[in-house]
């Protein structure tokens, strides 16, 4: 073994370690996008009503990087129900549910953002690839605990569940969808969600006028 090989090996080890260390901190991974979104919300360029759609576009871009929307949609349907979905229904459902919850979230923060502060409390590592990050949002000195379940997907930490005041996003929709599907078809569920998204779009239109 010559010097060159050893130095290459060292370089590889050093960089490998850095990469691992980086991947191992879900809380830090989450801070970036949250700060970016807060920045966009504060940016006066987007404060005109006509710019809200553009602002939402920007936030979507960031959210898609950090939220594992596919997994979230999948997790709201129980295992045996999911197997009853055709691949086309699976895809349709995933898309419309993603749009639905994304719109809800952005509408809420766009209309209600008054210098809320996001405080990162701590992270809990369950396994090497599963963690929970605890945060709280402070508005008018009212504190709302928001926790994120994150997992490692292809080397990136992604959110696959959110708890607001202890209420689980996955759990809440899972119960609702299960009850709905007990009496109605999968296509009905997709069309109800589509209607909701249409409604969201209409409301946005009104807001922006």
């Amino acid at each position: 073994m010559n010097i060159k090989t050893i130095s290459w090996a060292l370089i590889l080890i050093v960089f490998g370690t850095i990469r691992l260390a980086h991947a191992a901190q879900p809380m830090d991974v989450l801070k970036g996008p949250v700060d970016q979104i807060v920045k966009i919300l504060k940016d006066p360029r987007y404060h005109a009503a006509s710019k809200k759609a553009l602002q939402r576009e920007k936030m979507w871009g960031i959210a898609r990087q950090i939220f594992d929307f596919k997994a979230i949609a999948r997790g709201t349907i129980s295992r045996y129900r999911w197997s009853e979905f055709t691949p086309k229904q699976q895809e349709e459902f995933t898309n419309v549910f993603t749009e639905f919850i994304g719109n809800l979230y952005f509408k809420k923060i766009q209309s209600a953002y008054h210098n809320e502060k996001v405080v990162f409390l701590k992270q809990e590592m369950f396994t090497k690839s599963k963690a929970r990050v605890m945060t709280k949002i402070i508005r008018d000195s009212v504190e709302t605990p928001v926790d994120y379940s994150m997992w490692l997907q292809d080397g990136h930490w992604k959110i696959f569940n959110v708890y607001v005041e202890g209420v689980s996003l996955l759990g809440n929709y899972r119960d609702q969808f299960e009850r709905f599907l007990a009496n109605s078809s999968i296509d009905d569920l997709v069309s109800v969600l589509k209607k909701k998204v249409e409604q969201q779009k209409k409301e946005k239109g009104v807001e922006e006028q």
């Binding site: 295992r79 691949p87 000195s141 209420v167 689980s168 759990g171 899972r174």
Partner: protein, 277 residues
């Protein structure tokens, strides 16, 4: 005696404050109801994998799917709802009450009352019901928290000018958690019983209703005379509390495909979290 009873009932109605935006509770075993319309999801054993497992989301391994489903299942806490028809009527009544009365009044109040004043009022009432938290800390054996409650009360009542200011908030070691009798009973292992939606009060359960009534005996406002004054104070407190949460109820409602059951689940889950803490 009759007066006392009326005051208790009316106060129960108003004092729960954020019935709309908060939810709370512990777990009762899924007492599945016979009627399929509103019973909890038919529980197909989750461990039993159906034969058709091939068309899964690309990228999710079986192990990851297990993680995902375990997470989703952990987030579901069920409660019996034998009086659902009554509860649904009450839910609609409360919904109308919120949009037609509480929200317009609160918006008017918010317009005239600056945030500083509203926060001071909230602090004052929080400080006032210290006995409720103190007694429930003791009942749960949380003596450290009980001590913290006393320390907070002393600081905020004196340096905080009767509790309108919250100087104790500057000391992280003086942080406290909400405690009430419903949580205490939950900590003793008493289940929810069943779900009840009270007019004006909002979501509750048999256990939490008992808790709420018990806590009223520790609430100084309940002892205000004449009765009308006590009601007025309670109503004002409700409006003040709501002023911090306008929009929360609306977003939770919009987020649901069946708001009634979504609010029920949220209440039960949030209470479960509080009992655990």
């Amino acid at each position: 005696m009759r007066y006392a009873l009326i005051v208790l009932i009316v106060l129960a109605v108003f004092m729960t404050g954020c019935a709309h935006n908060s939810a709370r509770t512990p777990s009762v075993e899924p007492l599945t109801l016979s009627s399929p319309r509103h019973s909890d999801p038919p529980s197909m054993p989750e461990g039993q994998k159906p034969p058709e497992e091939k068309n899964k989301t690309p990228g999710l391994s079986n192990e990851e799917l297990d993680t995902l489903y375990a997470e989703a299942k952990a987030g579901t806490v069920h409660v019996a709802d034998p009086i659902e028809p009554f509860n649904r009527v009450m839910y609609h009544f409360n919904d109308k009450f919120y949009f037609w009365v509480l929200k317009p009044v609160t918006k008017g109040y918010k317009y005239v009352a600056p945030a500083g004043l509203r926060i001071a009022v909230r602090n004052f009432f929080d400080n006032l019901i210290m006995p409720v938290r103190l007694v429930n800390c003791v009942l749960q054996g949380k003596f450290h928290s009980a001590g913290t409650e006393v320390a907070r009360f002393v600081i905020n009542t004196t340096a905080g000018m009767l509790g309108f200011a919250d100087p104790a908030d500057n000391y992280p070691q003086l942080k406290t958690k909400d405690e009430d009798l419903g949580q205490t009973l939950g900590a003793y292992g008493i289940g929810n019983g069943f779900y009840i939606v009270w007019p004006l009060v909002g979501p509750s359960t048999l256990r939490d209703t008992v808790g709420l009534t018990g806590d009223l005996f520790l609430n100084p406002v309940a002892y205000v005379r004449p009765v009308g004054a006590a009601i007025g104070i309670a109503a004002y407190q409700r409006v003040n509390t709501t002023s911090f949460h306008i929009g929360d109820y609306e977003s939770l409602k919009e987020s649901a495909i069946d708001p009634y059951s979504a609010f029920r689940d949220a209440y039960i889950q949030n209470r479960a979290k509080k009992v655990r803490e």
